[in-house]
């Protein structure tokens, strides 16, 4: 994985001192909250429902064991003993003191981590495929490209006060595990004439106006990547709407002027950008790429796994994924135990994962956009020992991709923007569908819950989505069906009138019952919904 050199370290260290000075000036009254707010946000520090919240960047979701251990340390020393892994592959802490924030950043900097641009109207943490480097289906590791973009976007002087936040994802396989087309810019690495380049999709997003990004450029060679990205951003910075916060994302610009006109403007700017010499030499991407070279795999390992423990066998079948290297496997650690809080992990659990990362996964761990953890380089021979330790720590839920593996935003329990609670609804659904056999019978079912229209819980992209709203001061939940954040991306449709907290659980059960009754051989819930359409589901719910 990537390691900082002296320059990267200097920049992050300088940022800690800059923020320390900004926080000092705020505490001393030299700045108003209005002036301080954008500054703290650009360092991931929110004022949330109960306290300050700090969001720490995990670039493209990749960490070492040491970095993971630091996250546990921060949870223990500065927070209330836990953290929350987010849909942008980051972690956030809910109980941070402003007077501690600079010290936390200083501790993070000792392990090459930071909170830079984890909020604010700037380019956010670059996300990627959690299986990058280990997946059998990728054409290249997307993370060197993501790292190049991370550096380019860090304190980009022109793009620090964009109309709105800006999210970029990079993937390198036909299967989309990062909701790439629901990003402001989604990049898919593709091969042409033996060379890897970037296919650009621009103008996707969720929020109150969900959009699937149209393709804007079929191939950008690596030596022009930064010029092209800079052109995309400049057109947005100049012409993105600033009159209405809710229409300020790039998806609205692309939608209003049309993909063709946006493409034309970007091409014009791109032609200009290419004359400025702003692209790093190809040697820079090559330098970064060396950090992502394959780890030192052992060869000649057996692919055999002893499945005689039935609970272990279930976990293997659900949570372990094929690796490109014989004898190895990709392990998913579910942070969705029935009764738990989706994405939350205690300091003890985080530290255990750090230990297991070092012991079993060649010192690398990933965070997924579905709020789970991945150990990408596990020897099959170690799977049983690993599983036993996970299971003992409450990290062995065999539910990856099943109905209880929900994405849920923090909702009104933590978030000052929320209109309704999301976590208690997730817990009630998990209770209703707790039977593991029932979950497996329902098969792949992506259920995603947001506590408000901002859609941090990706409800538009859920096979089943839930949107919490405020109806005259009472929490109410709308049901959506048919969304997908994968390569078959689609936006879910609202079924009709909303429900109370118990009603929404009943409605979901009616929907899944209909699926079980109507499914054809091999159909997932989403496939059956797409074949039948909304009508029978609506009748089952409201009929």
């Amino acid at each position: 994985m990537y390691r900082y050199d002296q320059y990267d370290q200097e920049i992050v260290d300088a940022r800690v001192e800059e923020f320390r000075d900004q926080a000092r000036r705020r505490l001393a009254g030299e700045m108003t909250e209005d002036q301080f707010k954008p500054l703290r946000l650009m360092n991931g520090l929110y004022l949330q429902l109960h306290a300050y919240m700090l969001r720490v960047a995990v670039p493209y979701g990749t960490m070492s064991g040491k970095q993971m251990r630091m996250l546990g340390h921060i949870a223990r020393k500065y927070d209330k003993g836990y953290g929350h892994f987010t849909t942008r592959q980051n972690i956030q802490y809910n109980w941070i003191k402003l007077e501690d924030a600079a010290d936390i950043l200083a501790e993070l900097a000792t392990v090459e981590m930071h909170a830079i641009q984890t909020s604010g109207n700037c380019i956010r943490n670059i996300s990627s495929d959690q299986y990058a480097g280990a997946a059998a289906d990728e054409i290249a590791d997307p993370r060197p490209w993501a790292e190049l973009l991370r550096q380019w976007s860090t304190f980009h002087p022109e793009f620090t006060y964009l109309p709105r936040k800006f999210k970029i994802a990079v993937i390198a396989s036909a299967e989309d595990r990062a909701a790439m087309r629901l990003h402001d810019i989604g990049i898919e690495l593709v091969k042409r004439d033996g060379k890897v380049g970037a296919k650009f999709f621009v103008g996707g997003g969720m929020g109150r106006t969900p959009m699937i990004a149209p393709e804007i450029k079929d191939f950008v060679p690596e030596e022009e990547l930064i010029s092209y990205a800079e052109a995309c951003l400049r057109v947005y910075n100049r012409y993105g709407r600033r009159d209405n916060k809710y229409k300020a994302r790039i998806k609205i610009l692309v939608h209003e002027i049309g993909a063709d006109e946006y493409r034309r403007q970007v091409e014009e700017e791109f032609a200009h950008m290419k004359t400025l010499g702003i692209d790093p030499p190809v040697a820079e991407l090559a330098r970064i790429r060396t950090y992502f070279a394959d780890p030192a795999y052992e060869t000649g390992l057996s692919d055999a796994v002893d499945r005689s423990d039935p609970d272990f066998a279930l976990w293997i079948d659900q949570n372990v994924v094929t690796h490109k290297q014989p004898g190895y496997a990709i392990v998913n650690i579910s942070l969705k135990p029935v009764g738990g809080i989706p994405g939350d992990a205690s300091a003890d659990q985080i530290e255990l994962i750090a230990d297991l990362t070092e012991r079993y996964s060649l010192d690398e761990v990933r965070v997924t956009h579905a709020q789970n953890i991945v150990l990408p380089y596990v020897k099959k021979a170690d799977l049983y020992a690993l599983w036993q330790q996970l299971d003992e720590a409450g990290l062995g839920a065999p539910n990856l991709g099943l109905i209880t593996d929900m994405i849920a935003c923090p909702g009104l329990d933590y978030c000052s923007l929320a209109n309704a609670r999301a976590i208690p609804v997730a817990q009630k659904i998990a209770d209703r569908f707790a039977d593991p056999a029932r979950q497996r019978d329902l098969g792949e079912l992506k259920l995603k819950i947001s506590g408000c229209i901002n859609a941090c819980g990706h409800h538009h992209a859920g096979h089943i989505g839930i949107l919490g709203v405020d109806r005259k001061g009472v929490e109410n939940y709308q049901l959506l069906l048919g969304g997908s954040g994968a390569e078959d991306a689609s936006i879910g449709t609202i079924t009709g009138p909303g429900f109370g907290e118990d009603g929404i659980v009943d409605a979901i059960e009616k929907v899944t019952d209909l699926y079980v009754a109507e499914r054809q051989e091999g159909e997932r819930f989403l496939d059956t919904y797409r074949r039948l359409g909304m009508k029978p589901f609506k009748e089952a719910i409201y009929g």
């Binding site: 920049i11 000075d21 030299e30 304190f155 022109e158 006060y161 964009l162 040697a283």
Partner: protein
């Protein structure tokens, strides 16, 4: 406390800046003010007679002026480029990198904080028109200088 900051040698331009519309409609003005919604590229045919471009920031969160500044510098404008309005001390570094060399903020800036801000980062990741060598150029001197 500084009410006006200039990083140019010599005196600041004194002529009052006129609107883009007024500027493009007359032939003798040498100073112009750009508002956020206006296209800096409208000025490109007239760069040789400009000695001052003021870029107005009515609100610090409106970042269009950063693009305007770079566009002018990228086109070779060498006169004074002045950020005016809601310009905050924590924005100076980025503004300098985009080509601003003078600042007239609504509220005076603390000189010590200005100095600390501008000197904070030894290194930058991007190449802009400010002439600073980005980190990638330092990492690969052979390809950049060769």
């Amino acid at each position: 406390m500084a009410e006006f900051l200039s990083f140019r040698t010599g005196d600041a331009a004194q002529e009052p800046a006129v609107t883009v519309e007024a500027f493009t409609g007359q032939t003798n003005a040498t100073a112009v003010r750009i508002e956020p919604g206006e296209d800096a590229r409208d000025l490109l045919p007239h760069l040789d007679r400009l000695s001052l471009v003021e870029v107005n920031f009515p609100a610090f969160g409106d970042g269009r002026g950063y693009s305007a500044a770079r566009i002018l510098r990228e086109a070779g404008y060498a006169g004074e480029l002045r950020a005016v309005g809601d310009v905050l001390v924590d924005q100076l570094t980025a503004m300098r990198r985009c080509g601003f060399d003078a600042f007239k903020p609504n509220h005076p800036l603390d000189d010590a904080v200005v100095k600390a801000s501008l000197e904070r980062y030894d290194d930058v990741y991007q190449k802009t028109i400010d002439g600073r060598a980005p980190v990638w150029a330092k990492r690969h001197p052979e390809t950049v200088n060769g």
